[in-house]
């Protein structure tokens, strides 16, 4: 039985992942901003079979709450061995181009707050000598594109930080999985036209659970994104600048 802290637990990807863990009988501790949503998700996971579901209303941007969240989760579950960091916002690129304060807020939410929590969780798991951290980054972090480079650069920070942390902590029994979803059909993306590249949160969840179980390093989900991003990363800059991606 795992003892899992899920941050951003009301996001569609986190919730779908939590359902798999609940059905397996893992203990869960959920943190999210919106209280009524958080309680609905907790009730659902209890009904689905999670032997324990704790909750804490939590704003990831309040960095001074990160230590107490880790403590609360550890105490409530009688230990902590897995952390899923899944909070985030979908930045409005157009607004971020003219509103610098907004851009910095987005980078704080999607980048800085994530690496802050990852670092703290990593120390705690390393001190006990085992555990796993799964962090939701994005294919958008692989290369900055004009359509979403504010969000993308925050995710690039997450990916690079996770890569270094993985290398260091792998020697101390802790493994770090970077999850890179492509387009996911969630309430956050409800206003987008969906095409063949869109995946359901359940698919992403299955890949996350599998990535944690198998100790994978970087998980593109669905897997075809590894190929798409390989191509995008290798487009020479003089061509890339002319594209409208």
């Amino acid at each position: 039985m795992r003892k899992i802290l899920i941050v951003g637990a009301t996001s569609a990807i986190a919730e779908a992942t939590a359902r798999v863990w609940a059905q397996r009988g893992d203990k869960l501790f959920l943190a999210a901003r919106r209280e009524t949503q958080l309680q609905s998700v907790a009730d659902d996971l209890r009904t689905r079979g999670a032997p324990f579901v704790g909750t804490q209303v939590f704003d990831a941007n309040a960095l001074d709450q990160h230590v107490s969240l880790l403590q609360a989760a550890t105490e409530a579950m009688g230990g902590l061995d897995t952390v899923l960091i899944a909070h985030g916002t979908l930045s409005d690129q157009n607004r971020a181009q003219t509103d610098a304060a907004y851009a910095m807020d987005e980078i704080h939410t999607n980048g800085l707050s994530v690496v802050h929590l990852m670092g703290l969780a990593g120390e705690q798991l390393a001190s006990q000598g085992h555990g796993a951290i799964a962090v939701i980054s994005s294919v958008a972090g692989d290369r900055g594109r004009q359509s979403n480079y504010v969000y993308g650069s925050a995710k690039a920070l997450v990916s690079a930080f996770a890569s270094g942390l993985r290398q260091r902590l792998s020697k101390q029994g802790v493994h770090v999985v970077t999850i890179k979803p492509g387009f996911v059909d969630t309430p956050m993306t409800a206003s987008f036209k969906k095409g063949a590249l869109w995946a359901k949160p359940e698919k992403v969840a299955a890949d996350i659970v599998n990535g944690v179980d198998k100790g994978k390093s970087v998980v593109y989900t669905p897997g075809f994104w590894a190929l798409i991003m390989l191509i995008i990363k290798h487009i020479p800059e003089f061509v890339f600048v002319k594209l409208a991606l």
Partner: protein, 448 residues
Amino acid sequence: MAVTSSYTSWGRVLRPEHELLPLASRHAALPALPDGSATMLPYGNGRSYGDSNLNPGGALLPGRQLDRFIAFDPSTGVLRCEAGVLLSEILRLVVPQGWFLPVTPGTQFVTVGGAIANDVHGKNHHVAGSFGNHVRCFELLRSDGIRRVCSLTEHADWFAATVGGLGLTGLITWAEVQLRRVANPFMVTESIRFRSLEEFFELSAASEADHEYTVSWIDCAFGGKRLGRGLFNRGNHAPAAMETAWVPRGLAQGGDPHTRTVPITPPLSLVNSLSLKSFNTLYFHKQRRDVVSGMQHYRPFFYPLDALLEWNRIYGPRGFYQYQCAIPPERALKATRALLEAISASGMGSFLAVLKQFGAPASHGMLSFPMPGTTLALDFPNQGPRLHKLFEALDRIVLEAGGRLYPAKDGRMGAALFKAGYPRWSEFTSYVDPRFSSGFWRRVMEQA
């Protein structure tokens, strides 16, 4: 920002554009209607066949987004969940804990909201009534923001309007259902061959006391002497004290069903009169003996079609219709025979002709479909005007016999037939949410 996408129902005849209004949570108010859309309609899992779950030119509320369990008490079998939870998810949760759905339609891929809005029936109607008979309460959210918890005692009028209310009275956000006990996932079943309609009625009468579930397949491809032949299936949940040797091998674990999907829509309907006749003959002679008994997992017993996901695609791009009627007992034999004769003479019948006796338990909904008598359901590939002429002939038989058609299966009945079959329609209209409508509703409310 509004998005439109095309939505269709199980019959795939229409695929109109709709605006989609996401549902953030069961606690949130209904989304505002975008400019230009006069009305909205909840859409469950799209298993209704016609246009009662479509709102062409308007907006849809994707009911599946409310898919959380709220509470389940394994000591009483009371389950509370959001309205977008699928019956398949409920079974997955409760069967291992010794509970089962009190009533289930022939597919497990419907939502709780859809099951209430059509007050669906199953093979146990003669003992259990329809789905709404087991709904303890639900919350109804109206476009004016008012929420009502409805039950037989609280807001009983809203309860009666919303059970079988075709999604028109507001959005059901959550519901509480009383489940029934089972000892295990298995069914003790019997399949009996019959050669005439009279035999079907005799078998029904003889089976109802001792069998919770009864349903028949009836052959519609042939007229004359072979008219009315079929297979009568009956069953019960297996008892607790069961010889384990009975359990068919490979079923004991009850893993997920093997499912296959029809991956593409063939350019033509694969269902034509030739394939029909051979299928029906095969089915009828599938069993050698007149009575075959056995033990089955509940899935193949209740949901034989679910093993082939999206089987509706075999009817090709023009889609298909289902025609399901209910006929009161006094006229049942005569009218059923007349219907079967008209169908076999037309050569357009389907291999999915299902015949079942409804029983006495009264449904709670103003517009609930089930009533004491006989129900017949058939699929027809969409063949345009030729088929609609047949439907009109069938309508006349149903009307004359004092029967009604099932809105969940309907994409074409006229206002007169609807109003004759559902005498409480005008009482119902005062409960319709002014911001809600459907293609079906606009059609049957037209002045004749």
